[in-house]
C-alpha cells in the first residue's frame, strides 16, 4: 500500500510540474508585445530582441533549462575575480554559511546547556535574548562592516548572529525539559555532574537541540544570499546581483532554483541527523 502511495505521489508531483512548466511556457509566449513593424534594419541592429521583435522580458522554461545545462556543464570555471562558475560561487556561499554556523553551534550549545540547567542564568539572560533575537540579521550588516572592517568576516558574523538564537533557545528548552525522574535516578546512583550532562541530559535533549540546529541552518542559508547581494565579491548572492545587473532574468531564475535545491540539501542533512538521535518515548 505504501509503495503505491509513493508512486501515486510521484505521478502527482510530475503532473503538477508539467502543468506549471506548460503554463509558464504559454504565458511567456503570449506575454510580449507585438513586434514593432518596419524598423530600419540598421537601427534594429542596435536594439535588443525585446525592442525589435516584441520578445517578452520573461524567459520561458526552455531558455532556463538551456542556461542550467550550460552552467552544469562547466560549473567551476574561473574567468577572473568577478566571473566564476556557479559551482565556485556555491562553494563560497556554503563555506561562509558553514563557518558562521559552526561558530554559532560552538557558542549556542554550551550556553544553552547552562541556561537550561540554571534557572538563575536563564532569568538573567532572558531580557538580552528577547531583545537580540528578533533583530533582522541584515540590520547588523552596516554595524558589522563598520566595526569589523572586513566584508567577508562581516558576512560570516551575520550568519553567526542569526543562527545562534534558535539553537540557543532550543538547547535551553531541551535541557530544562529533561524528565525529573531520570535526573533523580541519576542522583540516587550518585552520577557526577559532568557525567550526568553527557550521559543523561545530552541524549535526552538531542532531538530538541537538532531541531534548533535545523531551523538555524535554514535561516543561515536565507541570510547568506541577502548578505552577499549587499557586499558582493563572491558567492551565490553575488551571482544573483551580477545577473540582475545584466537584467538577465534567466540567470536569476537559475540561481533561485539552485539556492532552493541547496537549501533543501542542507535541511535534509540535518533532518537525517535528527532522526538518528530521536528515541521512542
Amino acid at each position: 500500500m505504501t509503495a503505491s502511495l509513493n508512486l501515486r505521489a510521484i505521478v502527482l508531483s510530475l503532473a503538477i510540474l508539467f502543468v506549471f512548466l506548460a503554463g509558464w511556457h504559454v504565458a511567456v509566449q503570449s506575454g510580449g508585445s507585438a513586434p514593432a513593424a518596419n524598423i530600419d534594419p540598421e537601427y534594429a541592429r542596435l536594439l535588443g530582441q525585446q525592442a525589435t521583435q516584441g520578445k517578452s522580458a520573461m524567459p520561458g522554461p526552455l531558455d532556463v533549462g538551456k542556461t542550467i545545462w550550460g552552467h552544469l556543464r562547466d560549473p567551476f570555471y574561473d574567468k577572473g575575480p568577478n566571473d566564476k562558475g556557479l559551482g565556485v560561487q556555491l562553494a563560497y556561499s556554503l563555506g561562509r554559511v558553514l563557518l558562521g554556523y559552526f561558530l554559532a553551534v560552538l557558542l549556542a550549545v554550551p550556553l544553552g546547556f547552562l541556561i537550561g540547567m540554571s534557572p538563575l542564568i536563564s532569568k538573567a539572560l532572558d531580557p538580552f535574548i528577547q531583545v537580540l533575537k528578533p533583530i533582522s540579521p541584515l540590520a547588523w550588516m552596516p554595524l558589522a562592516l563598520y566595526t569589523i572592517k572586513d566584508s567577508g568576516i562581516s558576512a560570516i558574523f551575520v550568519i553567526f548572529i542569526c543562527s545562534v538564537w534558535p539553537m540557543l533557545l532550543n538547547t535551553a528548552f531541551g535541557v530544562s525539559a529533561v524528565r525529573k525522574e531520570w535526573l533523580n535516578v541519576a542522583r540516587t546512583l550518585e552520577v557526577g555532574p559532568v557525567k550526568r550532562a553527557f550521559t543523561i541530559i545530552l541524549p535526552a535533549a538531542a532531538p530538541t537541540i537538532l531541531t534548533g540546529m535545523r531551523i538555524s541552518i535554514g535561516i543561515a542559508w536565507l541570510v547568506i544570499v541577502a548578505a552577499e547581494m549587499l557586499v558582493g565579491g563572491t558567492g551565490i548572492g553575488y551571482f544573483v546581483w551580477n545577473e540582475w545587473n545584466n537584467l538577465s532574468i534567466t540567470n536569476v531564475i537559475v540561481a533561485i532554483f539552485v539556492i532552493g535545491v541547496m537549501g533543501m540539501l542542507l535541511d535534509q542533512t540535518l533532518a537525517r541527523a535528527q532522526r538518528a538521535v530521536t528515541y521512542p518515548d
Binding site: A51, A57, P81, W244, N245
Partner: protein
Amino acid sequence: MAMFKNPFDAGRRITRGCDCGRHESQSEHERAIRADAVEASASDESRYQRVVENAIIRAIFPQDAARRLFLKTVGASTATAAISSLFPIGFATEVFAQAVPEKKDLKVGFIPITCATPIIMASPLGFYTKHGLNVEVIKTAGWAVVRDKTINKEYDAAHMLSPMPLAISMGVGSNPIPYTMPAVENINGQAITLATKHKDRRDPKSWKGFKFAVPFDYSMHNYLLRYYLAENGIDPDTDVQIRSVPPPEMVANLRADNIDGFLAPDPVNQRAVFDGVGFIHILSKEIWDGHPCCAFAASREFVTQTPNTYAALLKAIIDATAYATKDENRKEIAAAIAPANYLNQPVTVVEQVLTGTYADGLGAIKRDPKRIDFDPFPWEGFAIWILTQMKRWGQVKGEIDYKSVANQVFLETDTARLMKEVGLTPPTSGSKTIVVMGKTFDSSKPEDYIKSFAIKRT
C-alpha cells in the same frame, strides 16, 4: 630641491626640522624624496645619485653642523672618496632609480558602468602589468559599499563618483577621512532617459510630478539633473521627486513604471533603449560639455604611505585614459570590458556608448563621438563647482573653504607630473572654462555663483 644639491658642499645646509629641514616630519620628508625621485625617472641619472648621496651623508651625519665641520676639515673630494669606498653609492643609485612599488598586489573596486572604463580596461588590456602592478579589479554592489570597502582598506583604490571624495573628506554622509582624487576618469557620458510613454513631453517645464532616479546623492548626476530642472523652472525638491537608485534597478523600475526617468551613467541609458523601455532625452554633454563624472580615488594614507605604488597605479590609469580617448580604440575597449567579469552587458550596448553611434530609442540613429570622453586631469575648478552645488542644495551648510578643500582632494599637481612621465602634455592649471547651460562659472567667486541662482536651498 635640496636633495639634488651637492651634499659634499660645506656651505649648504641640508638639515632643519626633518633631515633636510623642509618638511614637518621625517615620514613626510621621505615621501617627498621618493616623489622627487619618481619625477626624475624619465631623464637624469645623476639626480638619483645626488638623492642617494644625500641619504647616505644624512645617515652618517645626523647633525648638519658635524657634516659641515667634517667637509671643511677634510675637503669635499676626500670625503666623497672616503664614503664611496665604504658604501657602494653606484649600486644604491641603481636600486633606487627603479622606484619599486612598495606593494604589487592591489585591489581596485569598481561599479559596473562605462564611467569606470579606464579602471576596468587597464586590467584586460595590460596597463597595470605594464607599470609593474598586479591589480585585481573587483566589481562592487553600490557606492556606499565602495566607500566602506575603501575606508576599510579592502580596496587600495576605487572608482567613485567625483563628489564622493569631497564629501568623505569633509565628513558629509560619513566620518571625515582625508581622501584624494588624483584622476577624473571620464567626462560626459551620462544622459537623461525617459520612459517611452513620455515621448511627446520633451519640454522639461511640463515635468511637474515626475519621479526621477539618480545613482547617488553625492553624484554629478544628482547635481546636473537638479541644475537642468531648476534652469527650466522646476524645483527639484518640491515639484518632482528625486530618489537614489542603484543603476541596475533603474531600468527595471522604468519598465515597472515606478519612475518616469533618470539621469544615469551608461550603459544604463543605452540598456533602457536596448530593452525598449525608454528613450534618451538628452545627453549630459548638452547640459555641460566636458563635465567630470566618475573619479579614481584613494585615501591620503595610501598616497603618502606607498608613494611608488600610488605613482605606478596612477600612471597606469592615466595611460589607459589616454588610450581610451582615441576613437579608433573604442571598439576594442568595448569588446574588452563587456564580458561578465567586468560590465556584464551585451557588447552592442557598450559599443554604442563608447563609439557614440547610438539608437536614441525614438527610431533615430545619432552620432556623437564625444558622447563619452576620457580626460584624467582633475581640475580644481571642477571641485569648486561641485562644492557650490552641494551648498546650493543644502548638503553642506555654513562656510566652505572652497580653494583649500579642492586643493586637498583634487590632486592637479600630482596628475600633471605623472602625465608628463607617461609622455602626455598636462594642461596649464587654472585655464579651464566651465560653462553649464550657457552660464560661465568663475571658480574664484563661488559664493556669488550660488547667489545667482533663483532656486536654491540656502
